[in-house]
Symmetry: C2
Subunit: 365 residues, 2 copies
């Protein structure tokens, strides 16, 4: 079989150093496992602004559209904090990738590793064993809705507008992904919006209910207002299995859930497009954490989130569940052995660098 | 001096029974303190739908506009869950009150009472002594923006739209309230939006920065993206003093902060309008908790949030800081004595009813 094509976009801050550890795992797979990869590399975010003046060049976008999967590190940093021109922000590169690749379903697991229960600010019994999956809509809503912009309205006053908009097909396709994932897990789906205040949320609720009736009656479906969702996540997170929500609520609620685990440096994500005729789908994988400019280049970052994102890549893009589990188990074993990067360091554990964490995980593999 | 005018809108569910305890405190004040009140009562929410077919009648709105302050219990319940007609929902009554009274500044303290530290799902050392104030914009943004609605777009498909919109005067007036409150507290303000994705958020950030430059340079101002805000609240809530944010982010973040305290039944809120020529402002006070239909009418609800809302009423509408403190201290003392309604019950404490909690607080006064 031909080699699978991967595009690496390390991006900014700690992106390149955590991606380097993924590169090592890819090399190991090329040698030891049934699959082989062709890896190309490109620039995104601030790095691309520095090189090309834009956060995502046409050539890099074309490459992203051509490969089997994209692995991204992180984007952004104070150097590129351009408060006025949206097209010149590192984030714009990431948003363009999501939109142009049609990555409408963003999978964000919030999982608590046994070895890291104490890292959370929540009580251990509230979060021990937590394993929820947030499915966030990623190419619609207020992130991309038109009209948008800032206009002068006279008297030196201005008006800022964004548009929250969803169509029924947009709601259905992401809900479908969530229902299907729920079936493979605890068979429970909770949909979150503000149907009591927003018509777009009401449409969301109606359409999720309809799809449930039509095709997923075996899955237990509930609905929750997003503000109550933010509370219930804190009160009793284990009541949830899969959560589906829109782009903006998903941004906030998935970050809340991520921080609840206490280990942002451990959390991966997958962003998936629609399957084509051959059941292949465009996909991008990235850690949930940001570019952490404060520790960039110092071999301090935790590579686990990015390695676990690569495990998701193996699972969702290449159907290699066994290889994915191998990586996941290796990371668990290394944690079980007491190895910790600074972000998850705890009394009695061994503090290690990014590279040494990578060494240990490779040794486990 | 003429009596001050209060309108009581007990609303639905546990609303009437918690408001009854406020009535007792008002009676006590009439007898014992320097101020006297004229209290009228009206219907809102489901109760108003049952009586008049609308969640807020014109007569009740007129009364609300005429009084010095409105005290509200709670609205909503499964009986009135009308998923399609927005104007026939209990929530519509509350939203209309906010809009028609011009209550643009919603003050939501998230305070942890020493006696209740263990009620939180967060670790005690993370939240002990927590005292933050969230100022939520309440009459703008996506809650009220036009265009809005659901339309057919052909092929059996539909489209749901809401509009997020803020003008510079809307941003300034709520930011001003937040800056002024910060000055009376820890002198720190954090403004939250998604300026990296939404132009309305960018305008928000620019205008808050401008107002800071112009009038509040003595207050320490920071900005945070709302998703990061959701994380930072969990990671280290005590880093915050006052937070200012828009209607929708405020809805979610204030509920997150409220649940972090572990004692929703203890949290009050104030919604304030602009001061008129005599420095009077329209105002509505309500507990943060909802109508809790499951325990309604059983004398189980915690009246403290509503009593503390009345304390805010004394402070913000009538400048009676001493009387407000009296109520606050009485509640603290009763808690200190081990009295607990069911929602905050803990081992070794004495479980009591709504009425008995009211009795004890009155005795303390
Ligand atoms: C960087 C930013 C544009 C992005 C978002 O808001 O979606 C980030 O917060 C995320 O969640 O991936
Ligand atoms: C009841 C509902 C309309 C309301 C809101 O969304 O503002 C509530 O959640 C609140 O926070 O007061």
């Amino acid at each position: 079989a031909a080699n699978k094509k991967l595009l690496f976009l390390p991006g900014d801050g700690i992106g390149p150093e955590v991606m380097r550890q993924v590169r090592r795992v890819v090399d190991w797979m090329d040698r030891k496992r049934k699959i082989t990869f062709d890896v190309s590399e490109g620039l995104v975010g601030g790095a691309a602004i520095d090189a090309h003046g834009v956060p995502l060049s046409d050539a890099t976008l074309a490459e992203a559209l051509a490969v089997d999967a994209v692995m991204l590190g992180a984007v952004g940093g104070p150097k590129w904090d351009n408060p006025t021109d949206y097209t010149k922000r590192p984030e714009a590169g990431l948003l363009a990738l999501r939109k142009e690749l049609g990555l409408f379903a963003n999978l964000r697991p919030a999982v608590v590793f046994d070895a890291l229960v104490d890292a959370s600010t929540l009580k251990a019994d509230v979060i021990r064993g937590l394993d929820i999956l947030i499915v966030r809509e990623l190419t619609g809503g207020v992130y991309f809705g038109e009209p948008r912009g800032i206009t002068d309205i006279g008297n030196g006053e201005r008006r800022g507008v964004n548009t929250q908009v969803y169509t029924t097909p947009e709601i259905r396709r992401v809900a479908r992904v969530a229902f299907e994932l729920a079936r493979k897990r605890g068979n429970k789906l909770c949909s979150m919006e503000k149907a009591n205040v927003m018509e777009s949320g009401l449409l969301w609720r109606q359409e999720v209910t309809k799809l449930h009736q039509e095709e997923f009656q075996d899955v237990e479906l509930s609905h929750m207002y997003a503000d109550n969702g933010a509370m219930q996540l804190l009160k009793n997170p284990k009541q949830f299995d899969v959560i589906v929500t829109d782009n903006l609520f998903g941004d906030i609620l998935s970050d809340e859930a991520a921080m609840m685990t206490g280990s942002l440096g451990m959390l991966p994500s997958a962003s998936l497009g629609a399957p084509d005729a051959d059941s292949n789908r465009k996909a991008l994988y990235e850690p949930v954490h940001g570019s952490a400019p404060d520790i960039a280049g110092r071999d301090l970052a935790n590579p686990c989130a990015t390695l676990l994102s690569f495990a998701m890549c193996l699972r969702y893009s290449f159907n290699l569940d066994e290889d994915a589990k191998l990586i996941e188990r290796s990371i668990q074993n290394v944690l079980g052995g007491g190895m910790r990067t600074s972000d998850i360091m705890a009394p009695g554990m061994a503090r290690c660098s990014t590279t040494v964490m990578g060494d240990s995980i490779l040794r486990e593999l």
